[in-house]
Structure formats: structure tokens, C-alpha cells
């Protein structure tokens, strides 16, 4: 008998991964959570049937959602991470000696518990003494924050489901308010390739542009996400992602990475023409 996990990337395209066994299956108040073991990608986590991360390629996503902002901000001490219950973002953040405090806000405690138990590769650093975990709606948590954080990382699920509130104008506006005067917000920005994803990507971009003076987009390739071509948003009150980037300073930190490096930092902001056009379409401020 063969067991396969399949995710429809569009109504006409699907990605299938051969599965050895299902390790965990549960339903929280918000979503269904599964962990499976596969020969090609190792263990992987799905939420409501959608691929969240695999042991094989999660490093690309987690390095790219963390290091560009951390390399641009001269000294990010207070960090807010929204979503990210799998711990991958925190694992990258704790590499920075000047980080003093990380608030991690996830609505679903079960994700954190399941990852701690079955995905230690990402959840390894959730017990770091600098990390405070808050089980709460991200939108609610951030509403009460003002001028508090140097960097906010929004590691959300897709905008259909529990993550929907993290793609809204009210959320981005509240992030702006929660950041210090030189703060940076990075968000999971969906994919530009398939039309449905591209629309979500454009909507998110439009709302961020309306909320932040500097709003750029960068890319990475993540084999298990739809189309493999993924974007991140870099929204900032003061620092430009390239002009204010000090490559030598970051290299001096000696942080070991497998995907991110300082040349790739600059290159990742160079986007294909069709993506630039999609972004420009929604950038015109009325």
C-alpha cells in the first residue's frame, strides 16, 4: 500500500509527497493539525491540509523571514513574532546576541505543543529564556502595543482561515503603531505565481503600502510551497532594506546559515518583471 499526501495548489495542480506514516493528527479549536513522516522531506507539518513546513526545506523560509530585517536594523533588541508556533523563527532569532526579548504570539497552543513534541528541529529554542509565549489572537495582542518593538515578524498561515486577520489593513496599521520609530515589519507575503495567490499577495501589499513609508518585497524559492516561488514583505518606518544594509556588520556576527548570505540579501530584492508589475499595480496611492 502506498500512502501519499496531496495538496491542491490550484484546482488543476497538485503536489504529492509519499508518506511513510502519520505521526500526529489532531483538531484544535481553530484548525486541524497533522504531522507526517516522508522519505523525501523528512517530517512535515500541515494545517487544515496545507503544507506549513518540512524538515528538508524549512530552513529557507525561516532564514529568509528573519535575517534580512535583522541585518538591516542596527540593533534589534525587542522582537514580536506573530504566528510561528513551530519555533523556526525563534530558532533563527536567538542567534543574535543583542536580542533581549522575543514575544511570540500564536492563537493555537496545540501547534506549539505538537511542534515541541514532534518537530524539535524547529521548536528547539522555544524554551530560550528571552522568549515569552502568548496564546492569543495576534490582532488582539498588538492592539495594546505602542512604540515597543524594533522588529515584528508576521509568520502567518494563508489569508483564508485563522490567519485572515493577519492580512488586514487594521493589523498592519496596528503593527506600525507597535513599532518604534525605526522599526521594521516582515511578513509572509504569499506567492505571485498562481492567480489566486497573486491576488492575495497584491491585497497584502496594497495594505502595507498604505500603512508604512517604506515597503519592499523580496523573494526566495521554497520547493514545497505552491509554485515554489515565495515572497516576503519588508515594511519599515526608517531603514531601507538595501541602502541601510551593512553587510560587513552582519558577517561580523558570525551567524551560520544555509540559505541566506549578504549577496543574496541584495539579490533577493531584485524581482522578476511580472512580479514588479503586480506590485506596481497596487502601489499607486490614491
Amino acid at each position: 500500500m502506498e500512502l501519499w499526501y496531496s495538496e491542491r495548489h490550484t484546482p488543476n495542480v497538485k503536489l504529492s509527497i509519499k508518506v511513510d506514516r502519520q505521526i500526529f493528527s489532531g483538531k484544535s479549536d481553530f484548525q486541524s493539525i497533522e504531522v507526517m513522516e516522508s522519505p523525501e522531506f523528512g517530517r512535515f507539518l500541515t494545517i487544515d491540509g496545507y503544507m506549513m513546513l518540512t524538515e528538508k526545506d524549512e530552513f529557507i523560509y525561516h532564514e529568509m523571514i528573519v535575517h534580512p530585517a535583522m541585518a538591516v536594523h542596527p540593533e534589534a533588541k525587542r522582537i514580536l513574532v506573530i504566528g510561528a508556533g513551530d519555533g523556526g523563527v525563534v530558532r533563527e532569532l536567538v542567534n543574535y546576541p543583542f536580542v533581549e526579548h522575543i514575544d511570540l504570539v500564536d492563537i493555537d497552543e496545540m501547534v506549539i505543543e505538537v511542534c515541541k513534541k514532534y518537530l524539535p528541529q524547529t521548536a528547539c529554542c522555544l524554551d530560550d529564556e528571552r522568549v515569552s509565549i502568548h496564546i492569543q489572537d495576534g490582532l488582539k495582542f498588538i492592539r495594546r502595543c505602542k512604540d515597543e518593538y524594533d522588529v515584528i515578524i508576521v509568520d502567518s498561515t494563508d489569508p483564508f482561515g485563522p490567519g485572515e486577520g493577519l492580512f488586514t489593513k487594521e493589523f498592519y496599521g496596528n503593527c506600525f503603531k507597535a513599532l518604534k520609530e525605526d522599526g521594521i515589519m516582515v511578513n509572509q507575503h504569499e506567492s505571485p505565481f498562481y492567480p489566486e495567490d497573486a491576488i492575495a499577495m497584491q491585497r497584502a501589499h496594497k495594505r502595507i503600502v498604505e500603512s508604512f513609508p517604506i515597503s519592499r518585497v523580496y523573494q526566495a524559492h521554497i520547493p514545497t510551497y505552491p509554485s515554489g516561488h515565495w515572497l516576503f514583505g519588508f515594511a519599515s518606518k526608517k531603514y531601507h532594506p538595501i541602502f541601510d544594509f551593512d553587510a560587513g556588520r552582519w558577517r561580523g556576527l558570525g551567524i551560520k546559515t544555509r540559505y541566506y548570505n549578504t549577496q543574496l540579501h541584495v539579490g533577493s530584492f531584485a524581482l522578476p518583471n511580472y512580479v514588479e508589475e503586480l506590485l506596481e499595480d497596487v502601489e499607486e496611492v490614491e
Binding site: 489572537d137 490582532l139 488582539k140 498588538i142 492592539r143 485563522p162 485572515e164 486577520g165 488586514t168 489593513k169 487594521e170 493589523f171 496599521g173 496596528n174 503603531k177
Partner: protein
């Protein structure tokens, strides 16, 4: 058929049975279970189209119910504690009109608060009854009109002992209730019928610790918008009658204006929604209460907004408050309610029920989730941060006491001429002017136009209220009596 109980839904069950019989349709509707209109069927779904059928023996007839519709109406009456419950397919508007047409004839007086829905005054145009307005009290801080005080009701009754009926909102759009029980007892002492507009009070019949319902208060008729808090399809409502009302006479009035092709989609939605509320209403409205209270606390926590509730109760003009309503005063952030309403939709993709000069109302129901409430609260907090301004120059809505020069019917049918609104002061209006929602007239046919009213109309326009009622769709001219 088993015994009738609240877990039955006779109309829905009959439709299901009928569907299984696979009867060949050589009757209307002409779409023939959707097969004749593929585009519409794809749009609405096959199941929906297959249930859109005509009255026939196994499905009863709304104008003269003897089988399944009658059973469904009796079950609804039981659930609402009414003498009888009519299934209505032309909205609560038709319920309100039936209540008035069933109790008043030409020249009869009816006592009512001026902050009624336009449907009540429309009924006066149809039947020629004379309105005796009781001024609702005002809360000047919030800029909302309240309930009727017992003292004012008593004065209206003793000054007009020949009035046939008194009309009460239970609650108002904002959630405010008058002392319905005392008003009912008073009116009955003088032989007047008590008609209650419960468009916003369906849940009073099922929830815990909610204001008293019309039927429990002993009222004679009540119009219940099942499609608002009750969960049925838009346009479906119940008309409830008290135990002393001749229901067959009321049905004759309903049949004056109601369609003879009542939609079975609407009827089935009433039937199933009644079942759901009867079986599970208490839990449902406990949850709505809890969500509304949560939202209120969070919104008040933002500051400057005021989401009000039962602390307003004063045992008279705010005798009770419907805490499932999320009414929010916006004046202290320097924005009119209608402006917040527009910003929420245009900038944040959030549609709320209405905004007026100083308030917004977000409708909370069992279909909501905390996740969505967080969005509403988050957006309101952003609006205060980004758009908030000094509150100077904000107009507060003042109740403008109307001067009724002629009856609504006489004004409606009189010879009229159009005039620019700005030049209409001193004339008698032949038309309505109102913001929609809430659909409460600023001016009704037969009322004198005053400079205050013109100022109010201009301000409402400037703030972006959706004004309706005049023949002139731009609401720049008004037809006045010659």
C-alpha cells in the same frame, strides 16, 4: 406525520418529501426546478432551485393555510407564546402595515412615537389614520432618541381617549426599550390595541435576561423580523397576534396586499429557523450576548468610543436595554457615525449595520466569531488613531418635534409642486426624507418643513448619509403641498 413538536419543521419536511416524489412540473415557476435557467441555477445552486415551487395540495397555500403551513404557523405561535403566528414573505414592513390596517380605518387615531420605521407611516398613508405623536425622549450626549415615557404616553392617551391603538418600538434600532408592560396595561384600560414593532427583537422570545417580549407583555400584535436576529432569509418575518385577536380577520387584511405566490424558500427558512431557535435559542443568544459584551469592553478600552449598554437604564425612557446590540457613539473621536461606517467599509472591508450622525451599530449574531470581532475592534482602534480629530463642530442629533399639518394620506395624495429643499421652509411636505438605514423619517408626508429640518438634512448629506424618500433621487428638491 408524527406528533407536532418544536423539533419538527412541517413546511421543510413537506418540501423534502415533495422533492423525493420527482413530480413532473407542468406548473409555474417556469424555470422547472432550474432546468430552464442554467445560469441562475449555477448561481444559486440546484438544491435551491429545486425547492422554488408553487403552492399545491401537498405544500398547502399561504393565503388559506389548512395543512403544513397551518401546522408550521401553529408551531411558531407556540414557540413565541403567541395566539397565532403568520408566516410573512414581504418583510417586517408588511407585518407593520397589517397591524395598522387591521386596527385603524380612515380618520381613526393611532398613538405612536415619531421614531418609527417608515413602514408605520406608510400604513397611515394607506388607511388614512391620524398619527398622534408621542415625543420620544432624547439622550443629548449620545444623540439618540429613546423610548416613550409613561407620563407622555398617559397624556397622549387621556388627551385622545378615542385612539384605536398605540404603536411601540421594542426595542429601537439602538436597543432601547420602553416600559412595554405598563404601556400595554394602560392602553388596554382605555380599550386601545397595542401594536409592537419588534423588527429588532426576535431574540427577546428566546434569550436569557433580555427585555420582555411583546407577547409576554400582553400586547395584541407584534412584527418580528425573523431574518434579523432569527437567522431566516431576508424578507421573511412573523406577524404574531395575541390570544384575543381574531386571526382569521387579520389574515383577510394580510391577503389584501400579500402575494399569492409566497416563496417556499422564504417559508422553509422561517420554519427551520423557528425550530432552531425553539430548540437552541437560549444557547445561541447567550453566545451572542457574550460576544457583544466582549466587543463592548474592548472598544471602550480603546478610549473615546463609547459602546453603551445597560448602564443607561433609567426605569422610564430607557426602561430596558438589549445588550445583544453593539451600539457605539463616535462623537468623541471627532467623526460622525456615518463617517466611521464608510471608513470601515472602504478602508477595512468591514460592513456594519448603519452609521448615523453620532453612532454606529455593528450587528452581532451567532454567525460571528471572535476572530472577526478582533478585526472590527482592531479597525476601530486604527480609525481613532489615523482619522480621529477634535470633536468641535460635531452636530448632535436633536429630536425635531414634528408639526403634523395634515394626515399622511392627505398629504401623499394632495396636489404638490417640487421646490429646492433649501427654499421649502414653512411648506408642508408631501414626501418622506430619511436616512437609510435606519429608515426613520426625518420628515414625513403632512409635516411642516422647518429651518431646523433643512439644516439637519444638509448636515446628514454632507456627512455622507444615504438619504431616500423623495421622488428626486438626488434629494435636492422636495415635493410640497400647493
Amino acid at each position: 406525520m408524527g406528533e407536532l413538536s418544536q423539533n419538527r419543521a412541517p413546511i421543510a419536511e413537506a418540501l423534502e418529501q415533495f422533492r423525493r416524489m420527482r413530480v413532473v412540473p407542468f406548473d409555474v415557476p417556469g424555470h422547472k426546478r432550474g432546468r430552464g435557467n442554467r445560469e441562475l441555477t449555477e448561481f444559486l445552486g440546484e438544491r435551491c432551485m429545486s425547492l422554488d415551487v408553487n403552492s399545491m395540495k401537498p405544500l398547502d397555500n399561504l393565503t388559506h393555510p389548512t395543512t403544513v403551513i397551518r401546522e408550521a404557523e401553529e408551531l411558531a405561535a407556540e414557540a413565541f407564546g403567541a395566539g397565532y403566528a403568520f408566516f410573512m414573505v414581504a418583510g417586517t414592513t408588511s407585518c407593520v402595515q397589517t397591524m395598522i390596517l387591521a386596527t385603524c380605518q380612515k380618520g381613526d387615531k393611532i398613538i405612536l412615537p415619531r421614531n418609527v420605521h417608515r413602514s408605520a407611516i406608510n400604513a397611515l398613508i394607506l388607511c388614512g389614520a391620524v398619527p398622534i405623536y408621542v415625543n420620544p425622549a432624547m439622550n443629548h450626549e449620545l444623540g439618540i432618541s429613546l423610548g416613550m415615557s409613561i407620563e407622555n404616553v398617559e397624556r397622549a392617551i387621556t388627551e385622545n381617549p378615542d385612539a384605536k391603538a398605540i404603536f411601540v418600538n421594542n426595542p429601537t434600532y439602538y436597543g432601547i426599550c420602553s416600559n412595554l408592560k405598563a404601556i400595554t396595561e394602560l392602553a388596554h384600560r382605555y380599550g386601545m390595541k397595542v401594536l409592537v414593532d419588534e423588527a429588532h427583537g426576535t431574540h427577546f422570545y428566546f434569550g436569557n435576561q433580555l427585555p420582555i417580549s411583546a407577547m409576554a407583555a400582553g400586547a395584541d400584535m407584534a412584527s418580528v423580523s425573523m431574518h434579523k436576529s432569527g437567522g431566516s432569509l431576508t424578507q421573511s418575518s412573523f406577524l404574531l397576534t395575541g390570544k384575543n385577536i381574531n386571526k382569521d380577520a387579520v389574515r383577510q387584511i394580510i391577503n389584501l396586499t400579500q402575494t399569492t405566490s409566497g416563496s417556499y424558500l422564504l417559508l422553509a427558512s422561517l420554519d427551520l429557523s423557528r425550530k432552531r431557535l425553539a430548540l437552541d435559542g437560549e444557547r445561541i443568544f447567550d453566545k451572542v450576548n457574550e460576544m457583544a459584551q466582549y466587543a463592548r469592553n474592548e472598544i471602550n478600552d480603546i478610549g473615546r468610543y463609547y459602546a453603551y449598554s445597560r448602564e443607561l437604564i433609567n426605569n422610564d425612557t430607557i426602561f430596558d436595554y438589549d445588550k445583544t446590540k453593539l451600539s457605539i457613539n463616535t462623537l468623541n473621536i471627532g467623526l460622525a457615525g456615518i463617517e466611521v461606517y464608510d471608513i470601515l467599509r472602504d478602508e477595512y472591508d468591514i460592513q456594519i449595520e448603519f452609521g448615523d450622525i453620532g453612532n454606529i451599530l455593528a450587528y452581532i449574531s451567532v454567525g460571528d466569531s471572535y476572530k472577526d470581532i478582533e478585526r472590527l475592534v482592531g479597525a476601530l482602534s486604527e480609525i481613532a488613531r489615523r482619522y480621529g480629530r477634535d470633536k468641535a463642530g460635531m452636530m448632535r442629533h436633536e429630536y425635531i418635534s414634528p408639526r403634523v399639518a395634515v394626515t399622511p394620506q392627505k398629504a401623499f395624495y394632495a396636489d404638490k409642486q417640487p421646490l429646492p429643499i433649501a427654499e421649502s421652509s414653512g411648506r408642508i411636505s408631501g414626501e418622506f426624507v430619511m436616512s437609510y438605514p435606519p429608515g426613520i423619517p426625518i420628515l414625513a408626508p403632512g409635516e411642516e418643513i422647518t429651518p431646523e429640518i433643512i439644516e439637519y438634512i444638509n448636515y446628514a448629506k454632507e456627512k455622507g448619509c444615504f438619504l431616500t424618500g423623495t421622488q428626486d433621487l438626488k434629494v435636492e428638491t422636495i415635493r410640497v403641498l400647493k
